[in-house]
């Protein structure tokens, strides 16, 4: 269930390039590093968090399988996963610059980038907002009244 849900956030699309590779291709390299160092820092922070999140989804699943898990982490996965996906698309917009905002036409695949980016804003609203997930964690897992 959780793996499907996380797949649905668009974090792990099989066969597609990593955010780092997409960024390096788009902005170019300089002295062995991505040319835009501020954007590079944003990209690597996202990739580290995304890797940590994917490993956590794996760990939660493995713990449930081995009978160790409490299975109460779905609120955290929903909260963190949707926030990560929003960050990913904000960073993608910066990576592609002015092209990222072209709304119509064949070259932009019908404005896929800006339309998908705006769609992600719904990720942390649909299926229980991030604030609702934080409430669930605080009350059900942490026992804060």
């Amino acid at each position: 269930m959780k793996r499907e849900m996380i797949g649905g956030f668009g974090l792990t699309t099989a066969g597609s390039d990593t955010l780092g590779k997409i960024a390096a291709n788009a902005v170019g390299m300089e002295h062995g590093r991505m040319a835009d160092t501020i954007l590079r820092a944003e990209v690597l922070k996202w990739e580290i968090d995304a890797a940590a999140f994917a490993l956590t989804a794996e760990r939660v699943t493995d713990e449930v399988k081995s009978g160790q898990g409490v299975g109460a982490t779905s609120a955290m996965l929903k909260y963190y996963g949707t926030e990560l996906n929003k960050r990913r698309f904000e960073t993608m917009m910066k990576i592609h610059g002015s092209d990222a905002m072209i709304w119509e036409g064949a070259a932009s695949k019908g404005g896929w980038m800006p339309r998908t980016w705006l769609r992600t804003k719904g990720n942390s609203i649909e299926g229980g907002t991030s604030e609702v997930q934080l409430n669930i964690i605080a009350k059900n897992i942490l026992g804060l009244g």
Partner: protein, 379 residues
């Protein structure tokens, strides 16, 4: 490999938890600090740790060790983060033993590893020369003269540098600072002629020293591994060290969270428990979520090291970077949520922030490991 620990690891974790809570709680670190301990740890405590086999966990059976692996040792180190326990475990049984095992000759391994496992020998890795971790930026010169090398230069932030029996020193036999080739490793007596040791009293009340080497003569037999080819082993030992620093930081992140959560459930303001305020609930819930991610990256890094995974350097840098970030959040939130009492020395919560920053900085913080991660990923 499943992202869970097995029964043996769980037992080790629980026994470490019980032992450290009884014999080496945070109050033990306070005592060492207030008494101005010369060596910075309790010899009796270290002897007990050795007797339990902790110093032998990473050492191969052929050299008198238990060969129990990184996931096992990681359970202990995570607990030492919860109790802020000071001991030679990290510098000697983890970093020192790993470097000797990776770089040493058969004779060096037989002599040194057995002694570390038995608690008869302590070591300190001397690598960095400036205020930021940079393992290729080594300027310390090692010049061969007959049957000796002559070492000249300075080292900083050498953990256990003022108390260890042997210094494991990275010096340059050829090339210039910035190159990975030309780095050689040496085993040097801390009391050797020409070694000046200055203990640095740091914010965490733990052991570190700055070292100055002036014409220090090191016999050729004490070259660790091959001349000029020390960087690969050094880098691998630093990965191991960083995985355990991440494990210790995980203990710190969890303990500061647990203590703060407890406080939110006890402390009343305006007639109600402060844990009933949504402003604090959401911050606590976010913090808890980040700690969950931390558990995963630390376990993955330890598993990668155990299986000899070629992606170990990437996994270690992910773990160290993430733990640097989250322990900064954790220890800052811990103080803010404790309010005024969090600022006092009488209350233990402040001890966690003081240990978290040196542990994060040692062998590279977020900037170092974030940059390294990106480079390993090709950008």
């Amino acid at each position: 490999m499943a992202m869970v620990i097995n029964e043996e690891h769980k037992m080790l974790k629980e026994s470490a938890q019980g032992f450290l809570a009884e014999f080496a709680p945070v109050s033990a670190l306070r005592k060492l600090r207030d008494e101005g301990s010369d060596i910075g740890y309790s010899v009796d405590l270290w002897r007990q740790m050795v007797d339990m086999g902790w110093a032998a966990i990473l050492i191969p059976e052929a050299y008198g060790g238990l060969e129990f692996g990184h996931v096992g040792m990681g359970q202990i180190v995570e607990q030492t983060g919860r109790t802020l326990t000071a001991s030679p475990l990290f510098a000697s049984a983890i970093v020192g033993a790993s470097l000797i095992n990776l770089a040493g000759t058969e004779a060096q391994k037989t002599t040194l590893l057995g002694a570390i496992a038995a608690g008869e020998l302590t070591t300190a890795l001397a690598v960095d020369e400036k205020t930021h971790h940079a393992p290729r930026q080594i300027s310390m010169a090692a010049v061969k003269r007959g049957d000796h090398y002559v070492l000249n230069g300075e080292k900083r932030f050498v953990v256990d540098g003022h108390s260890a029996d042997k210094l494991l020193v990275a010096a340059r036999t050829s090339g210039v600072a910035g190159e990975s080739s030309g780095i050689s490793l040496f085993v040097v007596d801390r009391t050797a002629s020409g070694v000046a040791v200055e203990r640095t009293a740091m914010v965490d009340s733990r052991n570190a020293a700055n070292l100055r080497f002036t014409d220090v003569q090191v016999p050729v037999a004490d070259l660790l591994g091959e001349e000029g080819k020390g960087f690969a082993a050094l880098s691998a030992a630093l990965d191991i060290g960083n995985a355990y620093l991440a494990a210790e930081l995980l203990g710190i992140a969890q303990e500061s969270f647990d203590r703060t959560l407890q406080y939110l459930k006890e402390r009343k303001q305006f007639g109600v428990l402060i844990g009933s305020f949504q402003a604090l609930q959401h911050r606590a819930a976010h913090w808890w979520s980040e700690v969950e991610l931390c558990k995963s990256v630390v376990l993955k890094a330890l598993q990668a090291l155990d299986s000899g995974d070629a992606k170990s350097p990437v996994m270690v840098s992910i773990a160290k970077a993430k733990l640097c970030e989250v322990t900064e959040l954790a220890t800052n939130e811990a103080i803010q949520m404790h309010g005024g009492i969090g600022m006092t020395d009488e209350y233990e919560i402040g001890f966690f922030i003081k240990r978290a920053r040196p542990a994060a900085t040692l062998y590279g913080g977020y900037a170092y490991h974030g940059d390294r991660f990106a480079q390993l990923c090709g950008y």
